[in-house]
Amino acid sequence: MSEQGVVERLRARLRSQRLTIAKRELQVLSREKTIVLALVIQLFVAGFSGFLVVGLVSLYDPGSVEGYGIDAAVTGEASDEMLAAMDDSDTLTGTEYDSRAAAFEAFDEGRAQAVFDTALREDRITVTLTAPEGSIETTLVVAESQEALRALERQQRTERAASLEVIPLDLPPDRGGNPYFDFTYTVLLPLLVFLPVFISGSIAVDSITEEVDRGTLELLRVAPVSLTQIVDGKALAMIILAPLQAMTWLALLSLNGVSVANGAWLFLLATAATVVVVAFAIGISLVASDRRSAQLLFSVGVLLLFAAASFLPGSPANTAALLAIDSATASTYAAVVGYLVAAVGAAAVVRWLTGQVDPNEL
């Protein structure tokens, strides 16, 4: 058989009824402007998450606020040790006060944002830390003070190393890295990749149960197409849609300054996940009795499967995070290939199931 013939046959197949049905599905969605709604949701999620990240970082990471400093009033018997511990801090500057009253006066007058009231008791240092109440600074002051107190604790431990069985490890220096750097990759990005997948599955359920519910499947069956072809077409529309949406959002993230690596692999992952979820959705809607139970089963089922999958090495969310943050290893790529295999398997199982279903009984 010539190569030309194969291509011709392939083309003919592609032009088949499946594509017509897929096109119709997409047209319906665009006419209902539901796609627009989906994009708005994701834009909203992306925008809000940006807000959240910026908010969290400025709350907890003083390094991001230029020239920000906290003045601390130190008083009591262990003032010298406390002040020594503050030396390492970039943001916290300690000032010694002779008496507690003087320290609190400084606090009340706003010259100090924290008071470290120290005392030596039974060979320990006790510190009463006072932070401003209910102010935007509170979290920052407490977080920075905690750092200083931990430094003090380390110093004291080192001094008492003789009494310890295990000596604690030295801390690496703090270079002001963003502690929320991973948030974008491990929470936001999987959300943006898998939310369209979930919605696609949900629409696949609707698409089939609604035809059954309204009795329009009968009409469709008058046309010379088999149930498998109808289902194929509907599934195809959904499978095209979700990965494209996911990629759009990753592109937007990149524009926003979040570098996303392994775009092609992420596309494959999103496609594989969509195929699995849509196959699952179609399986459910063929088995369940009506739309309501199908939707319930689908959403509970997908959430359960997603949660269960997170117990596996290479869970979908983790795989997406590793790919995007550019920490992927051979096993990550293997996981993507695994999902692709699972997708082919799921599609095959559901097509077989569709073949078994008697359309007249739906």
């Binding site: 709604l37 009463t128 008492r160 490890l169 088995v287 959403s299 499967l305």
Partner: protein
């Protein structure tokens, strides 16, 4: 018709609804459900059997080069986010490693070019004193983030080591007690006065309770913990300070008490105020937030079923039978909603009992549940197909979840967090008291908004809207029109849009927040103007389109004036409610609604918004009397006028 008959009818419809729902869960569906559970359980079980410590989405995101005989190897291997690899400096430069922890010997200076910038090579983070180990990270944001993560991992590792130490004093040489104390602005306007009392007297003039009460509290709650001693009177020389500390003892201690009662305290203790430096925590209500989020989970399933049942009525004219029955439309909707509302209440109460919340949590989440149901109801009345309904449901849950959850994160930071009822839950879980004013402020917009949405939906719960395939915008206009009566109702409708305007403006601010400030401020001013103009004119357009009002210029001006007046009154009313309910919010509302709610000191400032609202609403109304295109043009003009006014006011204040 007597109230009893009505209630009985509602009840009957509710029972009917429940029986419908339960028959649809037939054997086949149940079997499929069980199969699903088994499959999910099997996958999770397989994961657990393989010995994978899963559940961490951050698994292995940072690759750390480290020798397996390094004292730090276990730190890296034990931490979920760090993955130990072969140390190879080359890989740090190629981006295959993010961090290297290696013996200090081989740390030669490396220089390479990254992104065209010279001297941005591998960053030596310095040698660690104790052993001969040095750390270097990749010259990227990820590299520094990896170092920060590694630092936290070492800290956690040390904490675990020390927990095993037999010598407690050497392992925990420092003990900390954290307390909070109100501080006035840095200028010291109020601070001067209070500091004098603190310094001058030792009998605690600015405290509400005496020493005894406070000490009782702390002893009772922390029973025998050795940190207590720092608060006791006989500890230190300066008794002046004790007077200060007692203020906060009272505030802090109920906190501790409540936490002790909570079921999950051991797992998720948040806001700790006493212990070793590692144990105190900033006032970030993480655990309470997680628990508060649990309240939102069942809502998603409830609205899915609820939206389904409402749309079901509209397919194949199934709801016609109920419509022709001698029952009021409101009763039909109430009956169909009741089972889902009850389900929500049961779920909320159950969760509240489970997480250690109280009546307040139930009372705070109830309006959220109502908002979920109300917006789903309207969505299901407008949707043309189940596909569309699915999008509506997802939209509703994403918007509402974000809207109630994100402010709750800032519970301890700013009182503006109270715009979300979930903040009340977080506060209760933390053991904070919530005043009636706070409750009303947080929940009233939700109650009001839900009521308005239900009324809108009930308006189109009629044959000509339910069983036709009109585009959503037309249905929306119909729904508004169904609520209009005379010109006066236009003013009322404008006032009633306030909760939605408030929500819309907040969302706009939050979404635009990330942009640079030069763009944000003008953009926000224009957006706010646009939102308010739409709110003031959309019902006028709806009324004119349906020929409820005639198209004369006189009517348009009258309607515009009334609409502006109604909006102005509503806006002023919320401003007053805010100031009365929450004095500390004055600052917040000035930033939130720059247009109307500016502090009105002079008559001109007070009347300014009134004139503005009536004029702009009249402009829109004049456009609305022609057609949709003219309406858009007129509204654009009104928005520009409004934005110019906003800009002038803001510039005058800044």
């Amino acid at each position: 018709m007597s109230l009893r008959t009505r209630l009985r009818r509602i009840w009957r419809i509710a029972r009917w609804e429940v029986s419908l729902g339960s028959t649809s869960l037939d054997r086949q569906t149940l079997l499929a459900g069980v199969a699903l559970l088994l499959l999910a359980g099997g996958i999770a079980g397989a994961g657990l059997a393989l010995g994978v410590d899963g559940l961490s989405p951050t698994q292995d995101i940072y690759r750390v080069g480290i020798d397996d005989d390094s004292p730090y190897y276990n730190v890296v291997a034990d931490h979920a986010a760090l993955s130990p690899q072969e140390p190879d400096r080359e890989k740090l430069e190629t981006g295959e490693l993010d961090l290297i922890v290696a013996p200090a010997g081989n740390s030669g200076t490396v220089s390479l070019t990254v992104g065209g910038d010279d001297g941005e090579g591998v960053v030596e983070a310095g040698a660690l004193g104790q052993s001969t180990v040095s750390v270097a990270h990749a010259p990227t944001e990820k590299g520094t983030a990896a170092l920060t993560s590694f630092r936290a991992a070492v800290q956690g590792y040390n904490d675990r080591l020390m927990a095993l130490e037999p010598n407690r004093t050497a392992a925990y040489p420092v003990s900390v007690r954290l307390q909070y104390r109100p501080q006035s602005s840095p200028t010291g306007a109020r601070g001067g006065g209070s500091s004098e009392t603190d310094a001058g007297s030792d009998d605690g003039t600015d405290t509400e309770g005496g020493d005894g009460a406070a000490d009782d509290g702390s002893d009772g709650s922390n029973g025998g913990s050795d940190n207590d001693q720092s608060t006791d009177d006989d500890t230190n020389d300066g008794s002046t300070g004790d007077a200060n500390l007692d203020v906060d003892d009272e505030r802090d201690d109920p906190d501790v008490d409540n936490d002790d009662d909570s079921l999950l305290d051991g797992l998720l203790s948040g806001g700790n105020s006493q212990g070793s430096p590692a144990e105190i925590s900033p006032p970030f209500p993480f655990s309470s937030l997680v628990l508060a989020f649990v309240f939102l989970v069942p809502m998603n399933f409830i609205i899915q079923a609820y939206g389904g049942t409402i749309l079901n009525e509209r397919i194949n004219r199934r709801g016609e039978l109920l419509l022709v029955a001698p029952i009021q439309r409101l009763d039909i909707v109430a009956g169909k909603t009741l089972p889902y509302l009850l389900a929500a209440v049961v779920a909320i109460t159950g969760i509240s009992l489970g997480v250690g919340g109280g009546l307040l949590s139930v009372a705070a989440v109830l309006p959220i549940a109502l908002a979920f149901l109300a917006s789903t109801f309207v969505g299901a009345m407008f949707a043309r197909s189940f596909k569309e309904l699915t999008f509506v449901t997802v939209t509703v849950s994403v918007f509402l979840t974000t809207y109630v959850f994100v402010p709750a994160i800032f519970t301890n930071v700013t009182p503006i967090a109270l715009i979300s009822p979930l903040t009340l839950v977080v506060m209760e879980l933390q053991g904070e008291a919530v005043g009636l004013g706070g409750y009303v402020f947080a929940t009233a917009p939700f109650f009001l908004g839900s009521t308005i949405l239900f009324l809108l939906g009930v308006g189109v719960y009629r044959e000509e809207d339910m069983f036709t395939q009109k585009p959503v915008p037309l249905k929306f206009l119909d729904a508004i029109d169904a609520r209009l009566r005379g010109p006066k109702s236009v003013a009322v409708a404008s006032a009633l849009t306030i909760p939605f305007v408030f929500i819309g403006e907040l969302l706009a601010i939050a979404a635009l927040y990330v942009m640079p400030i030069e763009i944000t401020v003008p953009l926000i001013l224009v957006t706010i103007a646009a939102i308010e103009e739409v709110a003031k004119s959309i019902h006028i357009y709806a009324g004119i389109e349906s020929d409820r009002f005639d198209r004369s210029i006189k009517t348009a001006l009258l309607l515009g004036g009334l609409s502006g007046l109604g909006f102005f009154v509503g806006e002023k009313f919320t401003a007053i409610a805010q100031i009365v309910g929450l004095p500390e919010l004055v600052l917040g509302q000035a930033t939130l609604t720059p247009a109307g709610v500016t502090p009105a000191t002079t008559l001109a400032l007070f009347l300014g918004p009134l004139v503005l609202h009536t004029v702009t609403a009249a402009i829109s109304a004049l456009g609305a009397r022609k057609d949709f295109r003219w309406y858009l043009v007129a509204m654009l003009a009104a928005t520009l006028v409004h934005a110019a006014y906003n800009f002038a006011v803001v510039s005058a204040y800044v």
